[in-house]
């Protein structure tokens, strides 16, 4: 199995950098959309400085102390060696081991997975029945490069479960309320280090979207999610404007469609255009463009028709009448005679001009001479004045007639308006026609003309009124429609202004979703690979092969897809798995999460993870755990001995702790065995085997003794140094640098490989003997290994592990 990454040394590219890089690489995204992604990123990055608050110092568990809580009555303490390594805490059901796990969970998260959704059940039985008070939890942590810290939870007598006081205290400092100032908020959310059997079982119950969330959270791509969210919000905002405009538009179109106003159809056409010509629409609504034809024009034409008034008609007719009279008078009275006389005089004058003075050729009595001619010219001039008078009277008549004619033509025929019945039209048109048919120069029909014209004018007035009313009705219906369209216009203008932004937001969001999916899966890949690796160790007999794990979809359609195959047949992995197999997969997914390099927690607490596993899986599980335990402190609570027995059978570097619950909920934890003590047991079994030749015992002993001493020294060294806040890497380097057993003992005892251990060796009889046997490996063999030698080894190991 691949090693779990070490100490976060592998510097992951930050999400911001990755997004910027992807933006740079993408030439298809337009500038506006690019700008939106950048601004969303900037905004999000400003808000998202949670990582800065996170304390990344690697943290291990030192001990868990529980009083009056759940299965534990009197104060019980579980000591854990801070530092990488596997500790298996075994205890029967109800021994109180889970209470320790829950204590850690409660202290870190303020709740327990087992309690979720079962509040009522737990709220009654969370206190210990035998010894409910004091009720308190203490969890102690060591942090690299810092002082140890204790997290405590206290309940006052009779307090409810949720009514507790949570505090933390850094060694040498005052207590602080809550645990927020420890800087663990984000990692706790992302890489919760406590997992119970219940949670394993339920990881898949929430469905693919819950699994998506669980996996996405672990990827630490909150920045990406936030950018996606921001872009979605941008889009929503732009879309809201667009939608509002669209809704208003549709309502207006619907209203227009049910209107029989002739402007409606044209307006609907304009409003249905892909790009709405707002200015044109506005012109129609305000009437400034008046593209109207037909009914409205006709009605407006009629209503605005210039028809002579009755007064006008009367005066006009009166003038005609008087002109007639006047002309007739002048004609009758004088003009005709005068004209005749003047003609005669003209002729006489012409005659006189040619013939000279002579007898009058007409009467023969008078003489046509100079005097006569003078008189005749004067008379002629006077006669012409009369003629002028007559002509003017005739002109006056002509003009009066023309006036009446003009008046008549003003009463022109009005065509019918299609689709609209105008009652007055039936009255007016014949009247007007009748009036115009009567000649104005027929004096005898003057009275008839006047009556006809009066009728026509009356009818015209009726017509104008009626047309005006019809027009007003039309306009009255149009008004609200126009107002509705007018109200839509500013929204539409806003939407059009935002249209570019909307398109950019859409492009930006699509881009982010697409890139986000790819990016997530890229980040998921190593975790998925790790999960597959773990699954391959765990599956053993299962014929289900786990394939790709991918995150697909967004928003409500997001889901995690676990593909797989059964005997080579591709399928969805989860549906074909048994509960035990599902738990194993959940574990395979959880372990990479809990041991992520993005977590300060170097411990993982597993509460009864193997309940549904069969023996073969437990082998694989132990292999997985020992692998993880190289870099992490793994604490497994187990209710049966199966896990412990696998560890006892093998050289697995693990400590076994038994939890026993006595009467009155008195819980005690006891170190059952650890690697060093197991080697002591091995040595004892060997020395007691009489059938084993002594020379073989002598050959085997040195290695066994040395391994036991070094194993104990290593545990002591790690516990001592990590408790003091040193980094695991430094502690490991120190250990590796010390090659000899004596140097390693010096590290364990004095923290310095060069220190002198002679005093320690002399302090108790047998210690030197043990070291000598261990060192004999280099020189050959030990003769006569006896039981007492193994006793010495046991004491030395005990002293190293628990110095007095």
């Amino acid at each position: 199995m691949r090693d779990i990454e070490d100490d976060g040394a592998e510097a992951e590219q930050s999400v911001q950098e990755a997004i910027l890089e992807l933006l740079d690489a993408d030439s298809e995204l337009d500038d506006a959309a690019r700008e939106l992604v950048l601004s969303a990123l900037a905004e999000v990055t400003d808000q998202d400085d949670d990582d800065a608050e996170t304390d990344w110092s690697p943290t291990y568990l030192t001990n868990i102390t529980v009083s009056g809580f759940r299965g534990i009555g009197s104060t019980a303490k579980l000591d854990l060696p801070p530092g990488p390594g596997l500790t298996v805490v075994s205890g029967r059901n109800g021994s109180g081991k889970s209470s320790f796990a829950e204590a850690v969970e409660l202290a870190l998260t303020g709740s327990s997975y087992r309690w979720r959704g079962k509040q009522s059940l737990w709220s009654e039985s969370w206190r210990n029945l035998h010894k409910p008070n004091p009720c308190a939890l203490r969890v102690r942590f060591t942090r690299e490069g810092g002082r140890p810290v204790t997290v405590g939870v206290d309940w006052a007598p009779d307090a409810e479960l949720t009514d507790c006081s949570l505090w933390n205290q850094c060694e040498g400092k005052d207590r602080a309320e809550g645990i927020e100032d420890l800087g663990w908020t984000r990692p706790l959310e992302r890489c919760r280090p406590v997992l119970s059997y219940d949670e394993l079982g339920r990881l898949f119950d929430g469905g693919p979207s819950a699994l998506y969330d669980a996996l996405a959270k672990l990827l630490g791509l909150e920045v990406l999610s936030a950018v996606e969210k921001k872009l979605a919000a941008d889009l929503k905002e732009a879309k809201l404007v667009k939608d509002t405009a669209d809704t208003l538009r549709k309502e207006a179109i619907a209203a227009l469609a049910s209107s029989d106003d002739e402007r409606a159809a044209g307006l609907v056409k304009l409003m249905k255009k892909h790009v709405r010509p707002v200015d044109d629409i506005l012109a129609v609504v305000t009437g400034s463009s008046q593209p109207e034809t037909g009914v409205l024009t006709a009605l407006r034409g009629i209503s605005e028709m210039a028809v002579p008034s009755v007064d006008e008609l009367e005066s006009c007719m009166a003038r005609l009448q008087s002109a007639w009279d006047n002309q007739r008078r002048t004609e009758l009275e004088m003009a005709a005679l005068a004209a005749e006389r003047m003609g005669l005089l003209h002729s006489a004058l012409e005659y006189h001009a040619r013939a000279g003075d002579s007898e009058c050729p007409v009467c023969g009595e008078g003489r046509l001479n100079g005097d006569w001619a003078t008189r005749a010219r004067i008379a002629l001039a006077e006669g012409e004045a009369s003629v002028a008078e007559y002509r003017s009277a005739a002109d006056a008549l002509n003009s009066a007639q023309a006036e009446v004619r003009a008046l008549t033509t003003r009463l022109r025929q009005v065509p019918a308006v299609p689709g609209i019945e105008i009652h007055a039209l039936a009255l007016y048109n014949p009247a007007a026609e009748h009036a115009s048919a009567i000649p104005v120069d027929d004096i005898t029909r003057l009275g008839e003309l006047k009556a006809a014209l009066t009728d026509a004018v009356g009818a015209a007035e009726l017509l104008i009124t009626e047309a005006g009313e019809l027009l007003a009705t039309r306009e009255g219906a149009w008004g609200p429609l126009a107002a509705q369209v007018a109200a839509w216009i500013p929204e539409e203008r806003r939407a059009q202004q935002l249209d570019a932004r909307y398109k950019a937001a859409m492009a930006a969001k699509n881009w982010a979703n697409k890139q986000g999916a790819a990016f997530r899966n890229l980040r998921l890949k190593p975790i998925a690979a790790q999960a597959r690796q773990i699954w391959s160790e765990l599956r053993q007999e299962s014929n289900v092969d786990l394939g790709e794990i991918t995150l697909t979809g967004t928003a409500t359609r997001r889901k995690a897809v676990l593909s797989g195959s059964v005997d080579g047949e591709p399928t969805h992995a989860l549906s074909v798995m048994s509960q035990g197999e599902q738990n194993a997969v959940a574990l395979a997914l959880f372990l990479p999460r809990a041991t992520s390099v993005r977590s300060p927690f170097r411990f993982v607490v597993l509460d009864d993870p193997i309940q549904a596993m069969d023996p073969a899986k437990i082998d694989g599980f132990v292999r997985v755990l020992t692998n993880v335990a190289r870099t992490h402190q793994i604490i497994v609570f187990s209710h049966d001995d199966r896990l412990a027995s696998v560890i006892r059978d093998t050289g697995v570097d693990a400590r076994l702790v038994d939890v026993v619950r006595g009467s009155g909920s008195r819980v005690t934890s006891r170190l059952n065995t650890d690697p060093a003590r197991r080697l002591v047991d091995d040595a004892l079994a060997m020395v007691l085997d009489d059938n084993l030749p002594d020379d073989v015992k002598g050959r085997v002993a040195p290695n066994l003794f040395r391994m036991a001493l070094e194993s104990a020294a290593k545990q002591a060294h790690y516990a001592r140094q990590i408790s003091a806040g040193r980094s695991r890497a430094a502690v490991e380097a120190q250990w590796q640098a010390a090659k000899k057993t004596r140097q390693r003992l010096a590290l364990a005892i004095h923290g310095d490989e060069k220190a002198d251990v002679t005093d320690w060796l002399k302090a108790r009889r047998g210690r030197k003997n043990v070291l000598d046997i261990g060192n004999a490996g280099a020189h050959g063999r030990v003769d006569n290994l006896v039981k007492e030698d193994v006793r010495d080894l046991e004491h030395a190991v005990d002293d190293l592990l628990e110095p007095r």
Binding site: Q540, P615, L692, V696
Partner: protein, 116 residues
């Protein structure tokens, strides 16, 4: 019978299920005998022959002188097969697949076995 032959028998038996369902237990029995031969062989190769010692002691010899992996494998396979060879009150009979897996572990301990 050599360790290789014993193991071959074990693997054959486990692949030919019997009506009475005893095949996996029989296979476990054969495989454990093969394993004990192999452990003895490895002890001898390490210069610590102990033909009369009990297997626990021999496993200690491997723990001390052999590779860590071999010691682990031998110990886990022997303990598992021993469990499979007896009837236990609360333990189910080992499944064929598990015995096959353990046979594989035993096979990997044969001297000169090269893991592919």
């Amino acid at each position: 019978m050599s360790a290789t032959d014993l193991l071959k028998h074990a693997q054959r038996v486990v692949r030919e299920p019997r009506a009475d369902g005893l095949s996996s237990r029989m296979a476990a029995f054969l495989a454990r005998q093969a394993l004990e031969e192999i452990i003895e062989l490895r002890c001898a190769n390490l210069g610590a022959p102990a033909p009369w010692a009990n297997t626990r002691s021999k496993l200690v010899i491997l723990r001390s002188l052999d590779t860590e992996e071999a010691a682990d494998r031998a110990a886990i396979a022997w303990n598992r097969l021993s469990v499979a060879c007896h009837v236990h009150a609360f333990e189910l009979q080992p499944s064929a697949a598990e015995i096959e897996y353990l046979c594989g572990v035993v096979e990997s301990l044969l001297p000169g076995y090269a893991r592919v």
